[in-house]
Symmetry: C2
Subunit: 458 residues, 2 copies
């Protein structure tokens, strides 16, 4: 579907064209995502209960299924102006290399020091914590993108920041760890002896290299046991998808500016924060029947929550201290192979994304690691950006779609989210070029075992 | 000096506002930089002699002291559109933190995978090599920015790329090395046994960790001894400053768009490529007497070619196989302390910059390493970009200027070049936050010893 105006390589919005409100897709959903449950009594979490863990304003956002738009405070917008709007790039060079009639666009979120889209929610969460008069926040980080983003946001607002970093990443990614420290964060390898849940996990699994679910448990305990602290999370939650809607809104405005009609929107899927944020405004139009377009989530074959998970209530963390969420999940005990590079290793998927997927609004694809890196390297050579392994799942899916267009001769507009850079993933890239990177797909038996840990809730 | 329009955080040019020509400052210089000399007969290098080492078209550019503008081929402009124009950012947050009436702007060149401005010249040099029908190019790299940029450009044009990487960087920066390999380059630690000059240096200095001057010698030998190869260099040469003029021209256009009158232009100085490119069009106006502004080069105290070097003909490389250049130099035998982080470790300075400095058009400042990192971390915390150690010399100088404005109450417009990101310099940042980073200033006696290697040429 051609456009009437000539499209530049990069579409930048003016600052005044940036969104002034977050878009809340839940307002447009015909049925709402299932509520978080209290792990004690299995009843929906009340605002009051949630406020013991999360900031007041964020709890409001978490529970708000009604308002389509929520104002972005000027202080947050001012921070956004430092690194946003991010460009929507027309991948002319990739198209030429693929010799496809398709038009490929990518929304690139990697042009800030945190290197990814995570900063969009980090600054919002840190802002509300500061506004509430808190001393600091705690969180966990796996690949390190979220921890980096949060420590940047906290440095900016002069807020303390305690990061529990999955031990294997802490050891293998010293540079990520040091970036957080440069920004003033305290970084603790998880599981640690600083929390009861950490000590318990260490006792039960001596020598464990940790997991995201375990680091979450520690960060939550650290928040609730300390005066003036709350816990913040970089993905999965409704509030995070709300903040990330800035990605989708900017994308939509940029497309409209050049009369480009999107046919396919593609994002990579871990906890769903980038994907949910990217697709939200398009999904709204799709649900309301205003637009007809396909939406595709690309996930790793080694952690396939949408394509092979169960849609059920599950624990969000290993220590089972967090509320339960209804989501596509591999079971809270699931740990992806250590060979799996980068993020996208969470056992569950955002409740919003899960619900939309269950309702048939989203297609999901899985990709093996080596085919993802192959696409990443090909992309890097022609587009001048070394993508994060996470983002490269979306690249792989977009390339596949574009090649299908080559067969059919269709000039579809394919839009993908490029969440970040691979600067901090060079160890994985090194393995790939040496040929020592493997693929790993969990067997049905392994998944069945992991599903056994699912709580029995209807 | 206030501006009439409201200044956004980031001034982006439209693609049609990007320069279509390189600006050649030599055309405006009242006296021209001294020519390169043949190391054999000490006569000015002829085009023919230079063409044995460099591509034909680049030799023309190297020797062209007359044409003020040189067309940028469409193929190069098309590549530029992938990652340019780069933003001119108003450092509102830094200004606020410093509580200065000054207005600080930075031209940020780090938003491409190579992470620095080096790509601007890499694509030009690779393009002319390809156009000449060559098989490949050879080069050296120190900190790795230039090698990364060149391998990206060569991958894009399907040209072979052989990089001699200073051994200490090869070992300490495996990620940089691997990025080049991802882009298909061959990377050899220098000094190596693959060249005669490398073997000679290894014999004379067993166990040496290499130097830029030595890697240059190897790369030149590799180019001239192989069919279909030429040598390319990432800094110092006139042609490189010509290509980098795109930085200064974009900066000038962006300032003019918002009626901003620059009072001070600041860049970091190693070989002079970014600095020369940034200042060129402003320098043209200054020489022609059209504008009155200050131009400051910031260099490391550990490698102070402008502030403590001699203005003399010197060898460009350790092996003395290259033409001689008249420049501010510490002597071709000078090797900065291994404690010195990042680039800016070349013993000499671009002939153009040297000549302009000698003519009094440029001020120079030196900064010690730890005060540079201090400025870098402060900048990162408020501006959301982790700067390269090289770039941080300019930040230090800009902060000092802004603090002077605070004393005097002047609202000067300070423009600085931010050449790249510090993603690949985390080892140095790690040292800094651990407190184990030292300063190093060569003694007068050390410099005298190094000057002794200067050839006796008038």
């Amino acid at each position: 579907m051609s456009s009437s105006k000539e499209i530049p390589y990069k579409i930048y919005l003016e600052e005044e064209e940036m969104p002034r409100q977050y878009y809340n897709v839940r307002a447009d959903m015909k049925t709402k995502p299932a509520p978080l449950l209290n792990p004690g009594n299995l009843k929906p979490m009340t605002a009051e209960e949630l406020e013991a863990v999360f900031c007041k304003e964020l709890v409001k956002q978490e529970l708000n299924n009604e308002d389509r738009y929520i104002d972005i405070p000027e202080e947050i917008r001012s921070f956004y102006r430092m690194y946003r709007p991010s460009p929507l790039v027309r991948a002319y060079c990739l198209e030429e290399k693929l010799d496809t009639p398709a038009h490929i666009y990518y929304k690139f979120e990697g042009s800030n020091t945190s290197g990814s889209h995570k900063l969009n929610s980090a600054i919002a969460q840190a802002y509300y914590a500061k506004k509430q008069g808190l001393k600091g926040v705690t969180t966990e980080t796996g690949a390190g993108q979220w921890g980096t983003a949060l420590s940047m946001a906290c440095a900016y607002l002069d807020l303390a920041c305690d990061v529990y970093m999955v031990k294997v990443s802490y050891e293998q990614k010293p540079f990520r760890r040091d970036v957080m420290r440069i920004y003033g964060a305290t970084v603790t390898p998880s599981p640690s002896t600083t929390t009861a849940v950490g000590r318990k996990i260490l006792e039960e699994h001596p020598g464990t290299t940790g997991s995201l679910g375990c680091a979450i448990s520690e960060a939550v305990e650290a928040a609730v046991s300390r005066e003036g602290y709350r816990y913040v999370l970089g993905s999965v939650l409704n509030q995070v998808l709300l903040h990330q809607s800035i990605i989708g809104q900017e994308t939509k405005t940029a497309l409209e500016k050049y009369d480009i009609k999107p046919d396919v929107i593609i994002g990579c899927c871990g906890g769903g924060s980038n994907f949910g944020g990217l697709i939200s405004p398009f999904m709204g139009e799709k649900i309301r029947g205003e637009k007809d377009l396909r939406i595709i989530g690309a996930e790793p074959a080694s952690c396939p929550s949408l394509t092979r998970g169960k849609y059920a209530y599950d624990f969000c963390d290993t220590g089972k201290v967090c509320p339960l969420a209804k989501m596509y999940t591999l079971g809270s005990g699931f740990i992806p192979s250590p060979n799996h590079a980068g993020g996208l290793r969470y056992h569950g998927m955002s409740s919003i994304v899960s619900h939309l997927y269950d309702d048939g609004y989203i297609e999901a694809r899985t990709y093996e690691q080596t085919e993802v890196f192959e696409a990443a390297v090909a992309f890097a050579k022609v587009e001048g950006i070394l993508p994060a392994p996470e983002s490269s799942h979306a690249i792989r899916a977009a390339v596949d779609e574009a090649m299908r267009c080559k067969e059919t001769g269709e000039d579809k507009n394919i839009i993908m989210g490029l969440t970040g850079t691979g600067y901090f993933d060079m160890m994985a890239y090194g393995k790939y070029i040496e040929g020592s990177m493997g693929d790993y797909i969990p067997t049905d038996a392994e998944l069945e075992e992991s599903f056994a840990s699912l709580p029995k809730i209807d």
